[in-house]
Symmetry: none
Subunit: 203 residues, 4 copies
């Protein structure tokens, strides 16, 4: 069973990974600055000091480069610290989401990404996997802890709760383009905590 790995007969040239990284990085800058439609492969190549072929050897089109670059905007989402209370945890989740949406580069790209995703199934999936999932997982932890503490009933509506952790901030910052102040965050924390717990003492 010596074979298998012996497919490639000889010294294959390999795409230089540091070049790939540099291109991705510059692509993200261009995307943030110009948006998808006005980003240009030629500009990326020029700024990266590489030929266009280095780009097209890695990605078959501008679209695929952009999607790949965006999907690498990994969400280095810090762990959700246990603050001891639902209210504290909600506030922490909101702050984490805010610091992510507030990043000047990521924020700009994300809205482009969302727009593009409507016409690109692949991108939509990549977006959900790379961006949505980790963030939602973190929200789940908060809900689980609150249930364990007895602050929330086990049957809390998770889908809506998780939507509410992200939606208002995205809407305020990304759609209405208004700043999110700490004070806004306080009020939002209050309302969301109330919303989640409201049902608890219900009828």
């Amino acid at each position: 069973m010596d074979s298998g790995a012996r497919r490639k007969p000889s010294g294959a040239a390999v795409l230089r990974p540091e070049l790939t990284d540099a291109i991705v990085e510059i692509t993200l800058d261009e995307l943030a600055e110009k948006g998808f439609g006005r980003m240009s492969m030629e500009a990326v190549a020029r700024r990266a000091g590489v030929g266009k072929s280095a780009l097209y050897r890695r990605w078959p089109s501008k679209q695929e480069l952009a999607v790949d670059a965006m999907s690498r905007l990994s969400v280095p989402l810090a762990e959700a610290p246990d603050t001891g209370s639902l209210r504290g945890d909600v506030r922490a989740v909101l702050e984490a989401t805010l610091s992510w949406l507030d990043d000047p580069r990521l924020g700009r790209i994300l809205t482009d990404l969302v727009a593009e995703a409507r016409r690109n199934e692949t991108l939509a999936r990549a977006l959900a996997a790379a961006v949505g999932e980790p963030r939602r997982a973190r929200g789940e932890v908060v809900l689980d802890r609150a249930i364990a503490r007895g602050e929330l009933p086990a049957g809390v509506d998770r889908e809506i709760a998780l939507d509410l952790f992200a939606a208002p901030l995205f809407w305020h910052l990304g759609v209405r383009l208004l700043p999110v102040t700490p004070e806004y965050l306080d009020r939002l924390t209050d309302v969301l905590t109330a919303a989640l717990t409201a049902g608890r003492t219900g009828p």
Copy 2:
């Protein structure tokens, strides 16, 4: 100094309004289908059966045509009926918002619009005025009625309340690209009503 206005002595020749409308309509179709970046002036002119000059005589650039067309996506938001209860009114607002976001053409364009607005102050303002304001005004009516009924305190946090009327639906439909079912709407209505009223009986 008799001149000035007396330059144009005769034959008016005025931009034909039905042409303007037809171009706008086709622009919206192209925008919905291709997105802002891939929409092309040549295609719009071709589909409208007009010359490119008819476009550029009306709008100085592709961007301005697109922005203008989008801003005409008027929000034929039906009046908010008084359902007799906060809960009913919230449900009605959500349904109106949903029917607006769910429009296949408007939905697609709106996300493009949001992305573009980050890099275009004019568009951002047009977006806020044409889309945000009417919708928010309608939300205000609901809050006012609830206060009048005594269902909400006069000092209810209007900014957050109005954000919450739109944010979750936009997030769910436009960002997460998931369908909004009537059942989801029920649950969302419950949670939002609870959130708004939660403070009422507070300490």
Copy 3:
């Protein structure tokens, strides 16, 4: 009878002929300098101060531009003067051919053209029509006059005679790349005249 001519609805934009001429002229320069293979559309456009589209609107490819340009290298072959003798006429024909082949631009292009013609039927025909025919017609005049004078028999081998008017000069100048001196021309005139008249006093 208002219709009929009313097919073309309005003022069609037309390729500007002076631009076409300028492009052709610069193409010929590039062809002479670089040869077909190294001539570049971008360089032609740049030197002509036009966009590439101006080229591609007129010719579907580099090859067709080059062929068209070359076929316009019209042969402004002066009339063959009647020098009063076959020898004088032969000398005049050789001189005309020489002045044509010796043109620095035409000479370089002609060999490219000949090479290209082997793989391009269209070019081969254009070459024969634009270049070969007029030159041969002029040779025929010389033969006709010599027959009229009684210097040549009516049955002189025209095909070979006409080949011999051009072949040695093309070979010497174009293939062997040697200069053609007046003295060489004298000797060639002698030999060709002798060759043509040799048969006259036959058996």
Copy 4:
């Protein structure tokens, strides 16, 4: 003095000559088929089943490979047989020249070569040495024999004579792209023999 070749003491690793030959052979095919300008190093390497390095280790550029390959189209010109008469010898020379120019591959390449030589001194020299010289040498033999036989004067114009052995055939076949029939060859033999001998009985 066995050394010299014995420089490389160990793991010899010498350019494999059979590879060189194979590459040259394929280069000639590509040249004949596509012409110099459209021949591609990548295609040669691909068809030869070798890497591009095998090419560039042997020749510094496409041009030099092409020139080298063409110069190896050695002229396997059979010895000029002594037919016993000038006329017979001229006919033999013409036939040899024809069989050389008529070779489908060589004929195509030769015209490319001639065109390229105008812009490449090295190629021009290689062409003269590899192609012109042997052919001319053979022509000289014919002239020498005719002088020895007394058919030509010692002072016959060799330069013109040698030009006339090749020029008409190249012109007819290579430039005018017409077939050379045996009958044409007969007539050409007659005229050339007459041209050479015409001066003999002079004054």
